[in-house]
Symmetry: C2
Subunit: 405 residues, 2 copies
């Protein structure tokens, strides 16, 4: 088989994923963002703690800061009486020290006053005027959160490449970081093609249709940690396509959509082959066989099928993993649920199949009109992946549905 012909480059879904993964590189550019907007981003530096957290020994409970040895003989029948020399709230620092026979009233979070080495919980002390009766002994360091308990100065506390979850954003805040260096989001050029394609909002002449694919692709892009820039529709000529690829060269990845006819698809194939290397042109999945993947001067180029459902299902299956790798985000663990099929499904495609389903009362109903119909996917709750060698799935059989977000 001639590897250079479009038909010789038809590969399995698993091979397609492997080829894409090989040619798509994580973004190295970084940028600073405010920690209030950092969730979901990926840390671009090892984060070394420049301070201890907490930065001082502090009270872990509301109570009285004491010298532990003052309490060793205290009991509920024979409480030990200590004189309260000061009372502080969180955010305040005691002006006095705790001497033998004395204590300072503290709230949770207060720095431990000088002289004290333990905190008696408020529950085990009874206050009377300026004194407190301690009813239980405390050991040294009791109810004290020592300096550096949470984070020690010099410790690598978050590692380069870690996605910033809410808790990790909290660690940045605890260290006093206002800004954080994260990897830049991949910049994706979305290039609709086709002489018949018009922008939503424009008036259609006969024979024209609105650009659907750019907007479904932009949605997938933003859901997978990347940023889309949509270009004007590109006419179906070799020169226009070449010119478009050149204008999009500053982007991290270029995604063409459209080319519903065989002729248009071949045009993009020829252009990509002329300017770079085509890795595959056709994947054994249904819908969406004619997906193309190439590289032009190091920039990955996707050619998505023209039919809206084919384009979108291939965006879920092939483009999203590419974007996540570039964005350095973990492989998406999809939300899946097990349900029973509401009706028999017969598959005879010989290709792996992306089958949209609607969920009603715990059953999965296939949603399928024509392959070009975006409404069929719009009404679906998720999809099944049917293996290539499948003949039939019986009504009532349990299947795993991957939910659309």
């Amino acid at each position: 088989m001639n590897k250079m012909s479009p038909f010789g480059l038809l590969i399995s879904y698993e091979e397609a994923l492997a080829v894409i993964s090989e040619h798509v590189k994580p973004i190295d550019r970084t940028e600073e963002v405010h920690i209030g907007e950092a969730v979901g981003r990926v840390l671009a530096v090892d984060l070394v703690a420049e301070v201890d957290v907490p930065g001082f020994d502090r009270a872990a409970m509301d109570g009285y800061a004491v010298r532990a040895d003052d309490t060793f003989e205290a009991s509920s029948t024979r409480p030990r009486v200590l004189r309260i020399v000061e009372a502080i709230q969180a955010g305040e620092t005691a002006s006095k020290s705790v001497r033998k026979g004395e204590c300072i009233q503290v709230s949770t979070g207060c720095p431990i006053p000088k002289g004290a080495d333990a905190v008696v919980m408020v529950e085990y002390a009874e206050r009377t005027d300026g004194d407190v009766s301690v009813k239980r002994p405390v050991y040294p360091k009791a109810n004290i959160a020592p300096r550096g308990e949470d984070i020690k100065k010099g410790e690598i506390i978050l590692k380069k490449g870690e996605p910033l979850t809410p808790a990790r954003v909290g660690v940045l805040a605890a260290l006093g970081k206002e800004m954080v260096r994260v990897y830049a989001k991949p910049r994706v050029a979305i290039l609709p093609t086709g002489n018949e394609v018009r922008e939503p909002g424009a008036k259609l002449e006969k024979g024209q249709i609105y650009d659907v694919n750019s907007y479904t692709l932009m949605s997938i892009v933003s859901m997978n940690g990347a940023v889309a820039a949509k270009f004007e529709p590109v006419p179906d000529t070799v020169e226009d396509l070449k010119e478009a690829i050149k204008r999009a060269q500053d982007y991290d990845i270029v995604v063409f959509s459209g080319g519903s006819s065989v002729g248009e698809r071949d045009l993009l194939y020829r252009v990509a082959q002329d300017l770079g290397t085509v890795f595959f042109h056709g994947v054994q999945i249904k819908p969406g066989k004619p997906t193309l993947f190439a590289a032009v001067e190091g920039t990955p180029v996707f050619g998505m099928p023209g039919y809206p459902t084919s384009c979108l299902s291939n965006a879920y299956l092939l483009l999203a993993p590419a974007l996540r790798k570039m964005a350095r985000l973990p492989v998406r663990l999809e939300r899946r649920i097990k349900v029973r099929l509401a009706q028999r499904i017969v598959s005879s495609s010989g290709r792996k199949q992306f089958l949209t389903v609607k969920l009603r009362e715990g059953l999965a109903y296939p949603v399928f009109k024509e392959s070009g119909d975006i409404t069929s996917m719009a009404g679906a709750d998720g999809y099944l992946m049917l293996p290539a060698n499948l003949d039939v799935l019986e009504e009532g059989q349990e299947v795993e549905v991957i939910l659309f977000d």
Copy 2:
């Protein structure tokens, strides 16, 4: 038990969720957004199709538009020869009609020329100069996608309240909509409290700590379809808290965080009770027992615990569902995986427990330092919910981990 005392309002997690759901209302404000930024938003109108999609009968295949009855006697041995009177590409409209014995070459997506009622696929026709030999009969309407096949004018194609998935964004584009009316995102006032709390970036005096909770809360807010506005830290006095609640009254929901000491927590309770109604003050979950939920002049008010891990775990468990209801987003189906426990867990809290775990080689390791330590959650991959009546989970036992996003 006195329902008016803080301790009388300690309720189960399930009751807390029910109470929150009862007092939190979906947002009614709407706004217009561009379809390129509409994914994840919730449609605020029924969408009635104002046009047919496609807007004309079109070729579903590359080939030749013919009069079907011209082909009825065609076969591979006795092909029927038709004269090509014109050739059009997608986006073009034929200037001629197809008469008996004639055809027009069309690409997929082309409007069907006048006179033609079927398309012969390019595979079943052989071209010779200005003629084409048709080798198979086609029935009328063959390979034609009729006007309105995908969407019929007048049809309600998307319903008010539907979240805009990528496919639904595609439907908007197919209808030519550039802008779409969606529900506004809930506006959340985040109010850190505590005299000891300082903004990240500021220099700390002894006894002071950085505001962690505002930033973990802002992360949870943005992950759940809402918008956060962070206020300056509020000092711990009744007057300041009252003033803060009043300043935040324009928001859809008010979230206080902090108040690590019993005294501070009681302050917020007293203020909320004075100005409105406290629904609960304390939930039987660990960590995070002291969570407060109230309403002041119809605005829901959360008082989150001061310890960062308690605050954040309660944000996942109680605040996120409230935000999603307000944002009209579906209940979040968490990403869950089944793994085995790497070690025995003993629980004796008598409260439902949120236990953070790290995943390594298919095993779940509990990650637990002190309840105030944000690093313990930062190092975790997800959490288990342990039931209140649990005594022990054995090493090797299968558990379901809910992953952090």
